[in-house]
Subunit: 670 residues, 2 copies
Amino acid sequence: MSNKETTEINADLLKERRNCSFDVEELTNVIDGGKVQTDKRREIENLFLNSGLSYDDVPEEYLSPKDRYENAVRKSAILSKIAMDMLEKVTVLEEFGIQSPVLRRIADAFFREVSPFLLHLGMFVPTIIGQCTVEQKAYWLPRALRMEIIGTYAQTELGHGTFIRGLETTATYDENTEEFVLHSPTLSSYKWWAGGMGKTVNHSIVVAQLYTKGECHGPHTFIVQIRDLDSHMPLKGLKVGDIGPRLGFQTADNGFLGFDNYRIPRENLMMKNAEVLKDGTYVKIARHGKLTYGTMVFVRVMLVSEMAFNLAKAVTIAVRYSAVRRQSQPKPNEPEPQVLEYLTQQHKLFISISTAHAFQLTSAWLWTTFTAVLADMRDGNTDTLPELHALSSCLKAICTSDCSAFIEQCRFACGGHGYMISSNLPSLYGFTTATRTYEGDYTVLLLQTARFLVKMWEQVEQGNAVTPTLEYLTRHQNKEIWDESPEGIIRAFESVSAGKVKGCVASLRKHMKDGLDYEDAWQLTTVQLVAAAEAHCRAILSRVYWTETVRVSAGSSSEVRAVLHQLAALYLLYWATERTGDLLRFTTISESDLVNLQERYEELLRKIRPNAVGLVDAFDLRDETLRSTLGSYDGRVYERLMEEALKSPLNQEPVNQSFHKYIKPLMNKL
Amino acid sequence: MSNKETTEINADLLKERRNCSFDVEELTNVIDGGKVQTDKRREIENLFLNSGLSYDDVPEEYLSPKDRYENAVRKSAILSKIAMDMLEKVTVLEEFGIQSPVLRRIADAFFREVSPFLLHLGMFVPTIIGQCTVEQKAYWLPRALRMEIIGTYAQTELGHGTFIRGLETTATYDENTEEFVLHSPTLSSYKWWAGGMGKTVNHSIVVAQLYTKGECHGPHTFIVQIRDLDSHMPLKGLKVGDIGPRLGFQTADNGFLGFDNYRIPRENLMMKNAEVLKDGTYVKIARHGKLTYGTMVFVRVMLVSEMAFNLAKAVTIAVRYSAVRRQSQPKPNEPEPQVLEYLTQQHKLFISISTAHAFQLTSAWLWTTFTAVLADMRDGNTDTLPELHALSSCLKAICTSDCSAFIEQCRFACGGHGYMISSNLPSLYGFTTATRTYEGDYTVLLLQTARFLVKMWEQVEQGNAVTPTLEYLTRHQNKEIWDESPEGIIRAFESVSAGKVKGCVASLRKHMKDGLDYEDAWQLTTVQLVAAAEAHCRAILSRVYWTETVRVSAGSSSEVRAVLHQLAALYLLYWATERTGDLLRFTTISESDLVNLQERYEELLRKIRPNAVGLVDAFDLRDETLRSTLGSYDGRVYERLMEEALKSPLNQEPVNQSFHKYIKPLMNKL
């Protein structure tokens, strides 16, 4: 059932929808990339969700972690079965890609957290595709896609995450038996975190230090069977189990894995990029590095898009709730206003609508850039790779971090009710905040971008050409003349970034002049380098968001174009007012310009206000996917809060046994 | 067993402790307020914790919410029994106050979240003390203290939190039976959130609109019996139950309560401030308002102190982990450094050590201010009350908000392992972030402070005297001359606050000149008003922290005095570098001053580095209270992570039943 078929709709929401200045369906089509895409997406959503199989009688948050896991496995099996049946009819994988947003919408309807099978499709299958030889792929891929084997990806260890070269697990080749011997020499070398490893999978990709003929060749990937396919018993020589509860991903079944001289066939080394011959000879294939790199960038593109989706969910919940919720009485004898009327509430929420659009457009743009780089690489040109790496690193860091922060802001904007699990905001935050750490920690990634920035600065100093996204460094040697147009604000952000990079270079040189070597000077400058990389990323986001908005809205009605431009302008003004110190340092902006900037920002909030509900409706998120008492399309907020509460097992009996066992004896001093 | 008796200590932590420049015990005494207080605290901690009764065989996070609740009741009964036994020996309540930090340390050892009895001592008893007549108190208080009755406090409704005047629950006096009739006219009028209401309590304070003779007298407090004392069955005319899972407070048993013309005796109105006579005559006692106000300020003082405690816990965990964790290899052939060596890590963590001290000293100072105001009020002077209100409002808002944000920063600094529930950082955040909302929402409280700031600004304009904490408004009519000393930085923050208040007043007047009335102009200025109140609060925190540091460290050894001054200086420099835009707008600070500020900040991080472990050790938090695999005194991080994981019920059997039920059929296409 689509949201709109619900009969009883909150009167305030009805009014909001009546007053919306643009056609919501048109905007939905723009977001989806066209009417055809919207229709196709809805068709698939109907297929998976109209059956009601995604629904739990007892919501999963009332279960113990163990029961919750078992329920998640049950539903993963249902979901997998529908997906495989469907695959025989339509080739969704081709049309939408494995990690398509439509699958995410469906998965979120099935699980408040995630499926224990998440890494099977998310990492196991892509790694097979990316790192196996043709023969290996022919063996493993069909089995994995038909789910005859279920796998995960085990890289991180208890003692090492960021520093891959420091991994301790060893894979030593034994030419006598033509096997690799996997071993965990220490407790800290145990694999830790792999989703599904705890109790679910029977195979795993394992990253280990490869040794042949006494020589270490660094980390390589292997396919390892973990459990017996028939009995599911862990195989001899392995220690495997669940790592215990986490802040989020509570049904992801994250696990640990330790090896006691565990043997696997030579063929289980994934040999697309490096081979070990029967006699133990190590053969490196030339393109190694570049293509594994490709998978990493691909994952980051997807993450940025996922952040857009998570934020769209959070702000849909918060905006609808803010239209229903009424509170306080600023003027006597007038009714309590919708909290959406308060400027402070608009300030908390509307930036998240803008940011969801910004991330979605940036993800698409990054994808285009990425495919161009891939094409270059196929032609043997790897010049554009470092730029793409620097770009994807900082975008991953900033988009995951901003998304988490804005989801929390949406939650704060919902007051006490945002603290209820049934609002779905806490789970959304718990899930999203993990992305700040995995696939590259925030600080580490920004410092990688900073390395590139400093290098490019030195190129500019030497009068050399630099890559397109950093071409702005050549234009900003002095204070930028302030100009309040969108293009002017973007140029100001670029000049802030350039100014900060310049400051970092000065700091590095000062420390080196004091006698430090480059690496020590670098360490002492890292706080400023992180800030410079952040500034660079904000400049990129601003320019891409604005440019892409102008581009994608060109064919729209004037009403839709107007709101898309308002949202992009809001983004620029929001970050300008957030970064007054930077603007004062690196542009000629004056005190009266700042006052003017603040006024324009506040005016824009008020302009967007009447369309706020329409703007979040346009994300077209079904109630099943939102899973929120506060955010459903019909706005039955208080009714749903109570309905969900009444499902609590604690409410199924008038008196809990703990009264007789503990409270009564205490009251009566027995 | 105190932490220090553990035998096996991580080598890096041993080295850190050997290299600490000051006597940790001396600093602990300073934090506790003297050696006598430290000894007394430890004595009580030993009494409650040495028995091992706080310990769970199966950690509570592995249970279902229902089992977890029952386990929390079991342990609450144990804790209450020890407490009541102890009360007969020592008069802890007198010596430490009901909400004393020592009790918090003990409660945290018993519960990862909180006790379902939390609001009995935290709100039910204090409200009886604060709002009952002498006769009422004589009846209720002994019963409550002996736990013959167990109560909570029900004010917030589904539809109203912030706006108390909007509460919908009615209490209508019936002079025929001399009873009040409590009624919930709508779903949104159901009480919602009261801790312990779900299944635990048998009494509750209830706030309802009082009606006598057809006239409404606004919200008043009543004592209401909820459940039968013998059978624990909810009484007829009530609908009561659990509200379902929350982000934190998971064992707090928060509940809802609805009334269907439920009758209570006339005597159950809490009559210290207002009385209803038998014939229904309403008699207001003059001092009404002022004293209930007192309870509110008291709760805020306690909250600021609690934030200091929560942050001390988080940073103890993160600093110890950062001393044990080694990662990356900035220089080839050198060992991986402790992550505490990284400047970015120091930047993330040390501000939290400073802030824990800042909040503790500010809470104590606020308490002193508060008792002075109380003394004034007893003399009939209420002039100082508005200042205290403005002060406690913004301090509550900023301290809870900063504390939550810094706890998350501590968690981020622990990477993936910080995401484990066993680190205790997620629960600490979940608990703390609630304080941003309850007892006064962040934005609402800052706007209350802003009202006072604007009023005081107008007083200054008219040449009138203003209250001491706002006396600085008279000094900052123009840009402050920048001076990099501590006093200079504090003055700069004051000038920032003054400048922002001035800007708000200008904005208000501009809107009014455009034809708006005051309230509409106020609404349109609220984003800037919130920022002004925040700036005021940061100025207060900076001055109080610095002044109190100088005061309390005066009698210390030079080593302890040095580190306390370093921490306070770090606080000033941190916020100065965070607020460069404000400093550039409202002081004469130059670009080279800013560069210099950043350098001094980074130098200070490096100076504090060798003492970081000693500084968190000085908070003297027992492992039982920290409950963290990452933060224990002995630093056995990886061992504890694995030990906790192995307790998972999922790890008690090699194959989970869901394999046979769901996974195998899927693999075999059955």
